[in-house]
């Protein structure tokens, strides 16, 4: 029994971090964007474009960390397009998000065409388990160097939103644009900046896809993680720290299928992938009522009104 359960457990733990790291960044990016009262479905495009930028940057410069910078920049720019255009009157943020998603993936596939073959330097893992004798443990604990950064960003974001003037401004714009205007704040500027910062954070998720796991660039790199971020943020009830746990849970669910496969239990791969969505949906059905919005949701969010 033990020789089945332990390997699976380690594989799921390692997988939760490996698969969950991109989830963590996109959900933190989306969380920040939504806290300012706007939804960004375009994060899927941001993710794909930034993973291309990361790979291209690393390939051309020879340094993966320059690739990471390029990813953040590309993410912030594309999210900036969404942020600026959604500030115009009558422009629908949901439709614009999907248009930005198309633009981002299109640009990434177009510009990334020459990058499909070459190898770029990837990010070296942090080997936490190097003292352990178990190969599985070592594999599970060779951690994406961006993951600790994501944890730091989650902590920082939680603290900033709760305790600083800057965080208060973002939350005020997200909860009542009128109140923010009465304070003399530019609602559009705050939302655009929050969307851009969210795009930069989500860009780190793209970098982690192309520079760590799977560690290459191709057109099948993202399987909708950017759109899943929307579900994750609801699951986490718009709290950055909860985004961390939610990402690990979603990542773990994604890793359970392959882990079971490796010990010979086949056939439920996609069912495990489906579990987080079913769970989020169940939470929504149980927690929503027709009379009030979901607890923790910014009131200016168009999908909560």
């Amino acid at each position: 029994m033990n020789d089945i359960v332990l390997p699976v457990l380690w594989a799921v733990l390692g997988g939760a971090i490996r698969v969950g790291t991109p989830f963590l960044f996109v959900s933190l990016g989306e969380c920040l964007t939504e806290q300012s009262g706007r939804i960004n479905l375009g994060l899927e495009g941001v993710l794909v474009l930034s993973s291309m930028a990361a790979f291209g940057g690393a390939y051309l410069s020879g340094s993966p960390w320059i690739g990471v910078m390029a990813a953040m920049l590309a993410g912030a720019l594309l999210a900036g397009v969404h942020g600026v255009l959604c500030g115009l009157r009558r422009v629908n943020d949901i439709a614009m998000g999907i248009a930005v998603m198309m633009l981002g993936t299109g640009l990434a596939f177009y510009l990334g065409k020459p990058l499909i073959q070459p190898q770029a330097p990837t990010l070296a893992p942090i080997m936490l388990g190097s003292t352990s004798s178990s190969a599985q443990l070592q594999a599970a604990l060779s951690i994406n160097p961006l993951f600790p950064l994501g944890v730091l960003i989650a902590l920082a974001l939680a603290w900033l939103l709760a305790n600083t003037r800057w965080g208060l401004i973002v939350r005020m714009v997200g909860d009542s644009a009128d109140a923010a205007r009465a304070q003399g704040l530019s609602v559009n500027r705050v939302r655009t900046l929050a969307t851009m910062a969210g795009g930069a954070i989500a860009g780190l998720g793209g970098a982690s896809l192309s520079l760590f796991y799977p560690g290459s660039w191709n057109e099948l790199l993202s399987s909708g993680q950017g759109l899943i971020a929307i579900a994750l943020v609801i699951f986490a009830r718009w709290r950055p720290l909860a985004c961390l746990w939610a990402s690990l849970l979603f990542g773990g669910a994604g890793a359970l299928g392959p882990a079971l496969q490796s010990v010979g239990i086949n056939g439920a791969y996609y069912l495990f992938n489906a579990v987080p969505y079913a769970l989020t949906l169940l939470i929504l059905v149980l927690a929503c009522t027709p009379y009030r919005r979901l607890q923790g949701a910014p009131s200016e969010l168009s999908v909560q009104r």
């Binding site: 422009v91 999907i98 198309m102 633009l103 993936t105 990434a108 791969y269 929504l284």
Partner: protein
């Protein structure tokens, strides 16, 4: 000119200007990559609408977009923003492929209609579920549609690669292909399958329903002003859920056609983003079923032109996606100009309706 005519002209002019701007931007983008922009523009036109062959190609691509766009447009008339069309398409495709597993389907036209009916019912159930969760539990339909789409896509993959997998499909897991007698052929004299006719009929029928029937009118009232609808005693729950079901049925039907007219079996090719493209088609058409037809044809044309750009100029296959990205972003952003267009006959400062 009457204000209504002005509004119509403006509604058409803004997207046309935006598409022109997108073509311009795409030309600049292509020139930056070293491709001659004039030739790019010429090929875009030739590839989309240059001859009978390209027309057919464009129409073929437009057919599913019409149906998936209705999945957004009809709930939008009832005031809901449903973006789960991809999910409705997938369950529709699965239902079409699954029916022969469950019962013997007569190898005739009635059998074909039966498998299409299965796709319609599956899509309708999908849509109704979104509407019901919204009306009874207050779950936002945009979010639940997105979640349900991912849920059913994973279930689809599970079923296609597991219980319903055809052992003969080695490299690409598929369900058992449909019997030839059930497959949907092409419209006589054209190389376009019947899905186009169904798409056009569905759009026309939807617009007649909205404009000329009491039920359609009630649906628009619920969408326009739910409080007023409640005050006059309209059954809002039923109307909204029905609208979602009709929309889902349209997208489900497009899934049925993807299987029964294009891929012959349910496999990963069915999930190709047609549902998402439909969202944008519906927005460009301002959720007006009749306007969906030309918009879908123009967008299908861009798609058709893409392969020509690839063949003649060696541009990457994603070129069209870039062009569509530019076009959609600009069309949606052009909404800001509504009510500001200087048309003869409009008093300055007049507000858009």
């Amino acid at each position: 000119m009457s204000p209504r005519l002005l509004a119509t002209i403006e509604a058409a002019a803004l997207p046309i200007l935006a598409v022109a701007a997108a073509l311009l931007a795409f030309g600049v983008f292509a020139a930056w990559g070293g491709y001659p922009p004039l030739e790019v523009w010429r090929l875009l036109f030739v590839g989309a609408f240059g001859d009978a062959f390209s027309w057919q190609n464009s129409l073929q691509r437009a057919a599913p977009l019409m149906l998936t766009a209705l999945c957004v447009a009809i709930p939008a008339q009832a005031g809901l923003m449903v973006i789960g069309g991809e999910g409705a398409l997938v369950v529709g495709a699965l239902a079409t492929a699954a029916l022969p597993y469950l019962m013997t389907v007569p190898p005739s036209l009635s059998g074909t209609l039966l498998i299409l009916l299965a796709s319609v019912l599956a899509g309708a159930a999908f849509g109704a579920l979104i509407g019901a969760m919204r009306q009874w539990r207050g779950v936002n339909e945009t979010i639940s549609g997105l979640l349900l789409a991912y849920l059913v896509i994973n279930l689809f993959k599970h079923v296609v690669e597991g219980p319903m997998r055809d052992p003969a499909s080695l490299n690409k897991p598929s369900t058992r292909p449909l019997d030839d007698s059930l497959m949907i052929g092409t419209i006589p004299g054209m190389d376009v399958h019947w899905g186009l006719v169904w798409g056009v009929v569905a759009c026309v029928a939807a617009s007649i329903w909205l404009a000329f029937t009491t039920h359609g009118f009630s649906t628009r009232v619920v969408g326009g002003n739910p409080r007023a609808a409640g005050l006059v005693g309209l059954p809002a729950h039923r109307l909204v859920i029905t609208a979602c079901a009709i929309g889902g049925a349209a997208a489900g039907l497009s899934g049925g056609f993807e299987v029964a007219a294009v891929h012959t079996a349910a496999n990963a090719s069915v999930i190709s983003g047609l549902g998402y493209a439909g969202i944008l088609v519906s927005f460009v058409a301002r959720h007006q079923p009749l306007a969906i037809i030309p918009v879908a044809i123009v967008l299908g044309g861009f798609g058709a032109a893409g392969s020509l750009l690839q063949r003649r100029l060696g541009m990457p296959d994603a070129s069209v996606q870039v062009l569509l990205g530019f076009a959609f972003v600009l069309i949606l952003a052009a909404e800001v100009g509504r009510g500001r267009l200087r048309l003869p006959g409009r008093a300055r400062g007049a507000k858009a309706p």
